[in-house]
């Protein structure tokens, strides 16, 4: 009884790996040789078909390269724009960081503020608003006159 090639052996031969025993067997076994040839023919047919279907004229490849170049350029422009924005933001942040602090109020300004505050407080404490002071004096004078006239 002849032992034919196992699937592993046939596979190894197809992958062009060195298997001396399998090669010797193929020389003496027409059945296995036919098996191998049939599998090889089927796979070759598949490969030929795949290559044939993927064949394209030179214009196709050229157009694809042009489109790719455009996309790559667009990519670069976008990246440049992004970097520019980042750089502008960094510059703005830096400027804000190193800008001299706002000037502190001087002692003269502080005194003036205090004086104003005191004046406002005084004005609030008065019974009569400052705008009505002349009227208050007039009323006081009239009152004094009436008082002196009534005196015997």
């Amino acid at each position: 009884m002849t032992t034919h090639l196992t699937d592993e052996q046939l596979s190894a031969v197809l992958l062009t790996e060195d298997d001396a025993a399998a090669r010797r067997h193929l020389d003496s076994c027409p059945e296995c040789a036919r098996d191998l040839a049939a599998v090889q023919a089927d796979i070759s047919e598949y490969a030929r078909d795949a290559r044939q279907r993927s064949g394209r004229p030179e214009e196709f490849w050229r157009d694809q390269r042009v489109a790719l170049d455009g996309r790559r350029r667009h990519d670069r422009t976008r990246r440049l724009a992004a970097w520019t924005s980042v750089a502008a933001a960094a510059c703005a942040a830096l400027w804000l960081g190193v800008r001299p602090p706002a000037p502190r109020p001087t002692s003269t300004a502080v005194d003036a503020d205090d004086a104003l505050l005191v004046a406002v407080q005084r004005s609030l404490r008065r019974d009569v608003p400052s705008a009505l002071e002349p009227v208050e004096l007039l009323v006081a004078d009239i009152g004094a006159d009436a008082e002196s006239a009534a005196r015997p």
Binding site: D7, E8, L10, S11, L14, L15, D35, A38, V39, A41, D42, I43, S44, E45, Y46, A47, D49, A50, R51, Q52, R53, S54, R56, F60, W61, Q64, R65, A67, L68, R71, R72, D75
Partner: protein, 195 residues
């Protein structure tokens, strides 16, 4: 007296191969060299030529954007293949999700009139035997897992070495062999059934 170690300065304008691959001419050469191959790989996996064209572009763009991530563990070409595989995988995933969403919404038609899986009809000039062979392999490929399918395409369509495939898939050579073994065994079974 110890002398200071003098590190040779990099000559002005000197650029490593890695850097020059991404500038104008270098990038153009990289695209020209890999364009047909990546398109073929993506097309063999997603089976939509328009989507494959867009995804091929996307692949180069993604590589360009992520050029800093390339550490040189694999070759630049293998790295591009691994990006192409990821993009194809994402596309298939979103297409499947979109298909199921449409199905749940009550429409069982495939996405945008496109078949969820390819029409394996070969060109008319193919012989009957050729067409049968193609149908057999398509049936097998359809049954493979995504990673097995990728290994199959890379090996038999692109004729990449096991080592390169392992690099592109991010797995060991042993795993690649196991994937390919599964595929070739299935083809062998189909061939026997057809006799």
């Amino acid at each position: 007296v110890t002398r200071p170690v003098v590190v040779p300065a990099r000559p002005l304008g000197f650029r490593t191969d890695m850097e020059s691959a991404w500038d104008g001419d270098g990038f153009d050469a990289l695209v020209r060299r890999n364009q047909p191959r990546l398109f073929r790989i993506i097309r063999s996996l997603v089976w939509d030529p328009d989507a494959a064209a867009t995804l091929t572009q996307e692949c180069f763009l993604r590589a360009y954007r992520g050029r800093a991530d390339f550490r040189g563990a694999a070759t630049l070409d293998t790295w591009l293949v691994s990006i192409a595989l990821n993009i194809a995988r994402d596309h298939l995933k979103s297409r499947r999700q979109s298909f199921w969403r449409r199905l749940v919404r009550g429409s069982d038609t495939a996405i945008d009139g496109e078949a969820a899986w390819p029409d394996p009809a070969p060109s008319p000039e193919r012989t009957l035997a050729g067409r049968e062979a193609l149908a057999r392999v398509f049936a097998v490929v359809e049954e493979l897992s995504p990673q097995q399918r990728e290994a199959f395409v890379l090996r038999f369509v692109e004729e990449m070495s096991l080592d390169e495939i392992a690099g592109a898939l991010g797995v060991t050579e042993g795993t690649v062999k196991a994937h390919l073994h599964r595929a070739t065994t299935a083809v062998r079974r189909r061939v026997k059934e057809a006799r």
